[in-house]
């Protein structure tokens, strides 16, 4: 009996053993291609659940020994991962499909690309189809409101000649003016944004946190924005595309001033000393027009795997709402990729040329249009105005006839940007690549300006002319060596690199007065007498030139590792030196600085325990730390320079100019540093139809460069550049995307982003220069009172406070005599406020900035809306400060007779008391919250019948309305155009080029 049981047991055991032994290894071979038939080299083949894997070779073939019941997991960047059960087959061929899942999306990071799955830092990527629609001055306009924490505000309203934006990432982090991010265009660091047309851009990637941006070192404090342009197509066919539109617009924000009749009724007959000159002039109308603009671009591309190219040309002719305010631009671009040497060597060439012509408008004319008396005529036959060209001019010297200024001033500019680069990448052996890169960029700008001899501002000088030229050349060389390896579930990537860059700045200008004819404008500078007889202030005749050169050398390295695509780790360091620093900048490193970073992420969805979670497709958390830097703008700040300065002194019988140091010198000037921690969390659910990410960050910016007040004596000058200040920023950013509907006929996509940022000045002055016990602060935000009076400061930068605090009187009301009544800091009231009664009366920075966009598609029709806005924040309305009272006999705002402001008017109208009608207090600060419909697009993309599609493969007609409406309580100019960056955020100035509501009609077709 026992023998039988033993035997059975043995058999069972042997069965078990043989069962396992029977599950033998099988050698499976196969080939991996993509949907176009191209082989995929280096695709990963993994036996699921094990660490047994391989990669495909140069022909896309693989061979792997696996269990016969195994499942193969085939994956590669840019393609959807596939799983194929062997089921006994010996040959498995796989066709990989383009990956559209969110975390497989490829994103440009510094010196390479990563998938969203692999990213450990905070990177936001915006693809071409998500860009804002309509006419955009430069690429930054395409992503306004799309990236949480990136605030983009256009400079100069909708002036077409002003094509720059003020871009700020994650709060104010610099004291020395507006620090803009580093723009990298197709690998060229510091590329000029005006060399790229929006229609040539494939994607814009924003490296938001320190760990992502640290690879760029001393220019990356304000973030890094990578712009990738479109490349040629590889399908062997020739493609061409045309995109054009025509647009017109109207002014979207104009202050409401008194009309001529209202002026007569209120200012003249109301006893405020207004003068009726008899005319009826709408000044704003006199200086504006209905603009018509059009843009066109054409692109062709074609090629194969071994050689493909893309060439494009574009034209833009934009008119602004102001008279004589125009912009014309021609742009040509060529990009090619080539593979040779048996596909081991890849070459990429890029070349672009941009030429533009502008007429600048004088923004102060819009201020003059507000303050000018509406009963003044534009022109006049009176004798006393003949010398001013027949234009009527006010008695008041600070009021100028704006039409006279437009008609009698010429301000032309021509710019050119040439950008070329070459990159060669050599695959040395499997996994090891060497890449070398060279680029050159040259910008030239020429400006000519002329003011007629009959313009009152320059009357008596005989006209005033100037010409100036500036040139900039940048050369960059970068060499990198990259190694990629994969074994089992470990993937490893390392890169080391070296870079060197030079920038040369040059300029020349000459200006003169005393011309015999206005007709020559600025074209014959030598003809003027000003420069010969030295008459007049030197502001009117003279010449000058300059040349500077900067050098930047760097060495950098990066390591990226992941285990099983679940645990990712990345570390980088950049070692960079600049000629802008002296050898005393750092006691050990001299001119060099070190910028390290480390970050990691955990792909939670890849874990076993998440395998059964329904509806959740992607879940990842990231943590990163990185150090970036910022350099001063001045080229030789640390050097002991001398210069000629000041008036000539009579010495030993002749005039000599004194020479000496012109400023305090500081040999220890060094870069600013920003240390940042970032925690992030990404998710995707419901088949990745709902996805998003949340980031929280803390930034500590130290060694801030600023011109600090220093005591005189012992210093010879009252200010000195030094690295001293410290600012903290912290915040949270949220980005959500969703596809609500996706069917054959309907698609509805939504996107939302919001950012909350707090900042604090930790140190700005202190015992280093001042003395202990004093509250450390700097007054900023100086406004002149205008009209020859002295001004005052409106903001205060203080330790322990955020940037953007307004500092002034706290408004309470008006008393029965029309006096201002202010609250004192101790809680009392006063009608005669003193300096000590000033206090912090609000902060300009908003609580939240948001963006929202949605696209709806039904069959051939689409509707897209992009919103952006902010909640909270304060704006100082300078126009109300100057013109919401009857102080001058010029015009005023209609609101001077409404609301609380009307009680001011019972004031006696004698000079000294009239002056105090203008007092800076929170009466002139308004809530800056707004929601703006940035653009609304309706498009129609008809399905083309068979015979058409031989010629035209795609056609689309669209209508876009830009800046259609803005919901806001702010009564001044467009709150979205008021800068919220820099040291004086929230200033809505009087001299402001209006924003425009535009309507575009466009056509796009592809062959």
């Amino acid at each position: 009996m026992l023998k039988k049981i033993y035997g059975l047991a043995l058999m069972l055991v042997m069965l078990l053993v043989s069962a396992t032994a029977m599950a033998q290894s099988v050698t499976v071979t196969g080939n991996v291609t993509d949907q176009t038939g191209e082989v995929v080299i280096g695709a990963s083949i993994l036996e699921k659940g094990t660490s047994n894997g391989t990669i495909t070779d140069f022909d896309g073939n693989f061979s792997i020994s696996v269990d016969a019941n195994a499942t193969l997991v085939i994956s590669y960047v840019g393609y959807q991962t596939q799983e194929v059960a062997i089921k006994g087959k010996k040959v498995v061929n796989v066709v990989m499909a383009d990956d559209t899942q969110l975390l497989q999306e490829v994103v440009a990071v510094g010196y390479g690309t990563q998938t969203k799955k692999e990213i450990t830092g905070s990177v936001s990527s915006v693809k071409a189809e998500s860009f804002n629609k309509g006419v955009s001055a430069n690429p930054m306009g395409l992503i306004q409101g799309k990236v949480a924490g990136l605030t983009i505000i256009k400079n100069g309203g909708d002036d077409p000649a002003q094509n720059s934006y003020n871009v700020q990432l994650r709060g104010v982090g610099s004291l020395s003016g507006a620090a803009s991010p580093l723009y990298v265009i197709d690998g060229v660091p510091g590329g000029d944004l005006s060399s790229v047309l929006p229609s040539d851009i494939e994607s814009i990637d924003v490296l938001k946190d320190g760990s992502a941006a640290a690879i760029y070192g001393t220019r990356a404090n304000a973030g890094v924005i990578l712009i990738t342009t479109k490349r040629g197509s590889k399908d062997g066919k020739f493609h061409a595309e045309y995109n054009g539109n025509v647009s017109t617009g109207v002014i979207a924000d104009a202050p409401r001033v008194l009309t001529a009749d209202e002026y007569r009724e209120k200012m003249v007959n109301g006893g405020f000393g207004g003068i009726d000159y008899g005319a009826n002039t709408n000044w704003l109308k006199e200086i504006t027009r209905t603009p018509i603009s059009h843009t066109h671009n054409v692109s062709v591309s074609g090629g194969t795997e071994n050689f493909n190219f893309r060439a494009s040309a574009g034209y833009r002719g934009l008119q602004g709402v102001a008279l004589n305010s125009d912009y014309e631009e021609l742009n040509a671009r060529f990009a090619a990729n080539q593979k040779t040497l048996n596909k081991r060597l890849e070459l990429a060439y890029d070349f672009s040329y941009t030429s533009s012509d502008k007429n600048w408008a004088n923004y102060d004319n819009f201020n003059q249009a507000v303050r000018s008396n509406p009963t003044m005529p534009v022109t006049s036959d009176e004798d006393r105005f003949v010398k001013y060209g027949g234009y009527f001019e006010s008695d008041n010297f600070y009021t100028r006839n704006p039409v006279s200024d437009i008609m009698q001033t010429t301000n032309d500019q021509k710019d050119q940007v040439v950008l070329g680069s070459v990159r060669a990448t050599l695959n040395i052996i499997d996994g090891l690549k060497f890449s070398t890169f060279y680029s050159i960029q040259n910008n030239t700008s020429w400006n000519g300006k002329y003011q007629n001899s009959t313009l009152r501002d320059v009357y008596g000088k005989g006209g005033s002319a100037s010409q100036s030229y500036s040139g900039y050349t940048q050369q960059v060389v970068e060499n990198t060596l990259q190694y990629v390896a994969q074994w089992d579930a470990h993937a490893f990537q390392a890169m080391i690199g070296q870079g060197y860059q030079t920038e040369t700045f040059q300029g020349f200008n000459a200006y003169n007065t005393g011309f015999p004819l206005d007709k020559l404008l600025y074209n014959n500078l030598g003809l003027g007498t000003g420069i010969v007889d030295g008459k007049g202030a030197s502001a009117y005749a003279g010449l000058g030139s300059y040349k500077y050169k900067d050098k930047l050398a760097s060495f950098f390295a990066r390591v990226m590792y992941n285990y099983d695509q679940r645990y990712f780790l990345s570390a980088s360091v950049r070692f960079e030196g600049s000629s802008k620093f002296g050898v005393k900048a750092d006691p050990i490193l001299g001119q060099w600085g070190v910028f390290p970073s480390i970050s990691g992420s955990w792909n939670i969805m890849g874990e076993e325990f998440m395998a059964n979670v329904q509806n959740l497709d992607d879940l990842k958390i990231r943590l990163g730390y990185g150090v970036t830097g910022n350099m001063p703008g001045d080229h030789y700040l640390y050097a002991m320079k001398v210069g000629a300065g000041g008036d000539y002194i009579f010495s030993n019988g002749k005039f000599i100019q004194p020479w000496g140091p012109q400023s305090n010198v500081n040999e220890t000037i060094r870069w600013e540093e920003k240390h940042e921690f970032n925690f992030g969390f990404d998710f995707g659910a419901f088949g990745n139809r709902f996805s998003g990410s949340l980031d929280a960050y803390f930034r500590n910016t130290t060694d801030l460069l600023y011109e600090y007040d220093v005591p005189v004596p012992p210093y010879p000058f009252g200010k000195m550049w030094d690295n001293y200040g410290i600012i903290h920023n912290y915040g949270i950013e949220l980005q959500l995307n969703g596809t609500a509907i996706q069917t054959k006929d309907w698609t509805w996509d939504l996107g939302f982003n919001a950012a909350w940022n707090r900042n604090m000045v930790v140190r700005i002055t202190g015992d280093q220069y001042g003395a202990e016990g004093v509250e450390s602060f700097v007054n900023t935000g100086y406004i002149s009172s205008g009209d020859g009076e002295t001004g005052n400061y409106t903001m205060r930068l203080a330790e322990g406070q955020p940037i953007g605090n307004f500092y002034g009187y706290k408004y309470y009301g008006f008393d029965k005599d029309g006096n201002w009544v202010f609250e004192t800091p101790k809680g009392g009231y006063t009608t005669n406020p003193q300096e000590a009664d000033k206090q912090i009366i609000g902060n300009a920075q908003p609580l939240l900035t948001l963006g929202f966009n949605t696209t709806l598609r039904y069959k051939e029709f689409d509707l897209g809306l992009n919103f952006r806005g902010q909640i909270g924040g304060l704006i100082f309305n300078e126009t109300r400060y100057f013109y919401e009272n009857t102080r001058g006999v010029e015009n005023c705002l209609a609101s001077a007779f409404e609301g609380d402001a009307q009680y001011m008017l019972t004031w006696k109208t004698s000079g000294s008391e009239k002056a105090s009608l203008r007092r800076f207090s929170d009466f002139y600060l308004e809530n800056a919250s707004y929601l703006k419909l940035n653009d609304l697009t309706i498009g129609y993309t008809p399905n083309l019948p068979e015979n058409f599609s031989k010629w035209i493969s795609y056609i689309r007609v669209y209508f876009t309305a830009q800046n259609l409406f803005t919901l806001t309580g702010y009564s001044g100019h467009d709150p979205a155009s008021v800068s919220m960056s820099g040291l004086t955020p929230g200033f809505d100035g009087r001299s402001y080029y209006p924003t425009q509501r535009s309507f575009n009609l466009g056509l796009q077709f592809k062959f």
Binding site: G303, F307, F309, Q338, T340, R384, D395, F397, V422, T436, F437, Y438, G460, V477, N479, G534, K535, A537, Y546, K547, Y548, K551, A553, G577, S579, H635, Y636, M640, K641, V642, G643, G645, D647, Y648, I649, S651, F655, I656, Q657, P658, W659, G660, P661, D709, P713, P714, P716, G718, A771, G773, V774, D787, E789, T790, G888, V889, G911, S912, K914, A915
Partner: protein, 521 residues
Amino acid sequence: MFILEKIMKLNKFFIGILAASMCFTTACTDLEPEIYSDVLKDDYYKTPEQFSTLVANAYSQLAGEYGYIYREGYWSMQEYTTDEVVIPTRGTDWFDNGVPQAMHKHTWEANTRDINNGWSFAYGGVAKCNTVLDNIKEIAGEDESQYSDAAKAGVAEAKTLRAFYHLLAMDLYGNVAIDDNSEEVKTNGVKQSTRKEVFEWIEKELLDNLDVMDNTVRYGSMTRPVARMILAKMYLNAEVYTGTPMWEKCIEQCDSIINGGYGYMLNPDYFTTFKKDNTANMEIIFPIVFDQVYAKGNMFHLITLHYVHQEVYGFTTQPWNGPCTLGSFYDKYDDKDLRKAQWFVGPIMKDGKVLKYSNSTLTDADAIIADTVTTIEDGTAANTFEGPRFVKFEIEPGIEHHANADFPIYRYADVLLMKAECLMRLNGGSSTSEALALVNEVHTRAGLPAYTNITLDELLDERGRELAWEGHRRQDLIRFGKFTTGMWEFMSPRSTNRNIFPIPQWVLDANPGVYKQNTWQ
């Protein structure tokens, strides 16, 4: 694809570029600065000419629109506060936040703009002199005994100028700080001294450097006679500064100037001293040398003349119609006094016709400048014409902002009047024959009959008539005890504490614990 083949052949060209760029990399750590349009200190100060431009810095604080004659700074503090200058608010112009009126009516505060500027002016000058001294040390070495004559003279010039700037500060603010560029000051900052201590330090600095300086006249430079003039001014006002009068010492310095063989003299014609080509004139002892091209800043014609004057003189910019003198001051001039011509009153004529002026309140009014000022508050229509205008400096037709006439900080006529005053004070306030002779040199030059007797009050008036708008009036009024007594229109008597200005609030804030505020109210 023929074109494509062509392009593919170009790849050799591109590989060439890449090879070149790799060679570039060998220079890959060169960070030497390349400087093209800036000048480093080590490149300069190599020739004597270049060296003299270094010393010139010590003078530059006085020059220009914002220097000694800055109407919102030093000059305002010495002149707007007196009966010599007033700025009526003309319409909406010149009210300037009430500052000129506060200065004129003696209602200034510790944060009034002009008072703030006066301090930065004086100590900015001190800082410039100290920088010059530091730079000389760097170039010529630490050991002063080894210096060349040029360097020694440069050091003496800079130290004397430094003492002069301290004098200006002490005259205005009384208890100021001494910045002698010593190690002590460089490490620990300055300390406040009493007015007397500052006086003594200035006196010592001047006396110590007197013998090193050139004993000649070099127009525009600080030489020995100029230093003596500064000493004379110090001693003249010694009773105000220290409580102890030093009239004899003042007389001693004046005698050194008069009898020193320098060639100083009174011009036979009063106005020669103020002509546009008055450079190197021997009546001027210490000038600020102006020039419409090289050394801009003399804008007296611009600030005082009426708008309509542009048509008379053909200026390229319209004048600003600002400061003028008071009726009471104008009345001090006898009609036969040739100096009365330094004031413009009456109709503004061109081609024999009175010019007309229109603005928002007047239409074609006759442009007639009135000889009094009736109101300094805001503008009645007539206000635009009120007040005699200052035309002492030659008015140059066709110029713009800047005139060529040099401004005399100190001149010889003052020396004569100073000596006369000291003699009289030593004589109990009555005139002596020597004092009379001195005053009469000045008085008769003005076309008036000689004095037979003169009182101190009359001497004060004579000083006013002679030296109007030259920056001496406040000092003179204080010395005669009449600055705060409210003796002219628009002024009311104030506390004599206002003979000293408050130390500006910004100075107290920037240097906590260093200064104790004056008793100034």
